[in-house]
């Protein structure tokens, strides 16, 4: 049973979400502030954090930033308000894996949560035992089960499940152009309303972490109007 931390300061919304998550078998803990959320994650581990951006005190962006800084790589889904596109991007930049826009569809929230939890398993490679071992390219060796990239000079770069899942998709199709829609389908498990900037955001993060010169990427290459290509 997966354990979900729900951080939402609107009591009604929190109650409704928690009810539905429990109803389909998740164990749910709810908190109403950023401080309480951080305290909860220190006390015990959660498989997923569902996090409202606008919280009293420490806001959701700061929460995800601190979680990542503390080495927590578990999936984080942000809940943002409509017309606040900046928040969605800021959330992804801060380290969130995905975002949900208020007022959201219940089915969509549940699908996103399932997607994020599945991604975690898939990225580790546990579900596909016949996949090749660590991915080696440039100076980096990516070990999928541990979500860690190690450079030849000994530098270690931890990855989130989403980052690892993207690299895994790249690794399976070297030299092939992969569209943003394919990423959304394969990594985020999402079809329908497509928000491709989520993909672009994660590509930027991967480049920042793993390219020798992120401004002139050599391994994760953009292909105009088509998507991205992985050059080992």
């Amino acid at each position: 049973m997966s354990r979900v931390l729900l951080v939402e300061d609107d009591d009604n919304l929190a109650e409704g979400l928690a009810f539905n998550l429990r109803n389909i078998g998740y164990e749910v803990e709810t908190t109403g502030s950023g401080e309480a959320a951080l305290a909860a994650t220190e006390r015990r581990s959660f498989d997923l954090v569902l996090l409202d951006v606008m919280l009293p005190g420490i806001d959701g962006l700061e929460v995800v930033r601190r979680l990542r800084k503390a080495g927590n790589r578990k999936p984080v889904l942000m809940i943002t308000a409509r017309n606040r596109g900046d928040d969605a991007i800021a959330g992804l930049d801060a380290g969130a894996d995905d975002y949900i826009v208020k007022p959201f569809d219940l089915d969509e929230v549940l699908a996103r949560i399932r997607g994020a939890l599945r991604r975690e398993v898939w990225a580790r490679g546990e579900a596909v035992p016949n996949e090749p071992g660590p991915l080696v390219y440039g100076a980096w060796t990516i070990d999928f089960p541990s979500f860690v990239a190690t450079a030849s000079d000994g530098r270690v770069q931890p990855l989130t499940a989403t980052e690892a899942a993207m690299l895994r998709l790249f690794a399976r199709r070297p030299g092939e152009v992969i569209s943003r829609e394919t990423f959304l389908r394969e990594v985020w498990g999402r079809t329908g309303a497509i928000e491709t900037r989520t993909v672009d955001n994660f590509v930027r993060k991967l480049r920042r972490a793993l390219e020798p010169d992120p401004a002139k990427p050599r391994h994760i290459v953009s292909v105009r109007a088509a998507g991205y290509k992985f050059v080992p």
Binding site: D10, L13, G16, G32, M54, G57, F104, L106
Partner: protein, 316 residues
């Protein structure tokens, strides 16, 4: 939700720098002129010209200093106002989105099979509660726009109302809306006032909403009191909430002036327009409004004074 900060620091620094430069320049300029003046005294006609020059120049410097100070202060006031409006927009987005999301969520939950009767009743109650919340927010935004449009002269359609009976009706409604969050009492003298019942309802809604929002304990204990004082009837909304410091109490009726500015507390968000609307509506009724508090943590009393209507004055 992030708001891009509009910084007041830059114009403030620039203003301070300009003032220091102007004052330094004035002083140096005068030193030079006075020094020259002493030497010029020897020359016929030179000193008179110099005196005029000193007076004129000093006046100009003074004018520049005063004007740049006024300009700077106005600029900073405008920046602060923009910041508050930006905060307001973010708050509107949040305040509307939360009940909307909740209504949608509970409706979709109700559509699912296998809910117990108890859950159904509870979720329907939540939907009603959020609909109420939403309609009060919309009413406040519309009223604020009306105040902006017409100034403080709201169109009031007053009718003679038995105040205690009106308040008893309100207490029943408020208890139903706030449920277990509110313990609302009513006491005082019978009185007759001329109010616009619908508009005045917004006054009570905003005051009681605030008392619930800024509560220390749940339920919020709030008392409505009515007292007659000569030609006036006073309605008090007395709470045991977080209270207001003496430095803030005068300003709580200003728009966008919110207690939690910079220190948001769980569930205590709002738009920062409720009390300003209370003031506009009470003024529209020819009344006055004010607040007192023994300080932070010691509760707040908001009082409204309305002109009394004497039964004997009313034609049969």
């Amino acid at each position: 939700m992030r708001i891009r900060k509009i910084s007041v620091r830059l114009p403030a620094t620039l203003l301070a720098t300009v003032l220091v430069l102007v004052i330094t320049l004035t002083v140096l300029w005068n030193v030079v002129l006075v020094h020259d003046y002493n030497r010029m005294k020897a020359l016929a006609g030179g000193a008179a010209f110099h005196t005029t020059f000193i007076i004129l120049g000093s006046a100009l410097f003074l004018a520049i200093t005063v004007l740049s100070t006024i300009l700077g202060i106005r600029l900073m006031a405008n920046l602060r106002w923009s910041q508050r409006q930006a905060n307001f927009l973010a708050s509107v987005s949040h305040e509307l989105n939360s009940p909307l999301s909740s209504i949608k969520l509970f409706t979709q939950t109700l559509q699912r099979a296998g809910l117990s009767e108890g859950d159904r009743a509870r979720f329907t109650g939540k939907i009603l509660m959020d609909t109420e919340r939403l309609s009060r927010i919309v009413a406040n935004i519309v009223r604020a726009a009306e105040v902006d449009h017409r100034g403080e002269d709201l169109t009031v359609a007053p009718t003679e109302v038995d105040l205690m009976e009106y308040l008893r009706g309100y207490v029943d409604d408020a208890r139903a809306i706030h449920g277990s969050d509110l313990e609302l009492g009513l006491s005082g003298d019978e009185a007759c006032v001329e109010i616009d019942p619908l508009m005045f309802r917004q006054v009570l809604d905003n005051l009681v909403d605030n008392a619930v929002r800024y509560r220390v304990e749940t339920p919020a204990r709030v008392e409505l009191r009515v007292a007659r004082d000569g030609d006036w009837t006073e309605i008090q909304v007395v709470d045991e909430g977080i209270g207001v410091g003496p430095d803030r109490i005068e300003r709580i009726f200003e728009r966008f002036n919110r207690l939690e500015d910079g220190h948001p507390v769980k569930g205590r968000r709002g738009l920062g327009i409720g009390l300003s609307i209370v003031r506009s509506i009470v003024k529209g009724h020819g009344g006055t409004v004010g607040a007192r508090s023994a300080g932070p943590g010691k509760g707040t009393t908001v009082w409204i004074r309305l002109p009394e209507v004497r039964r004997s004055e009313i034609p049969a």
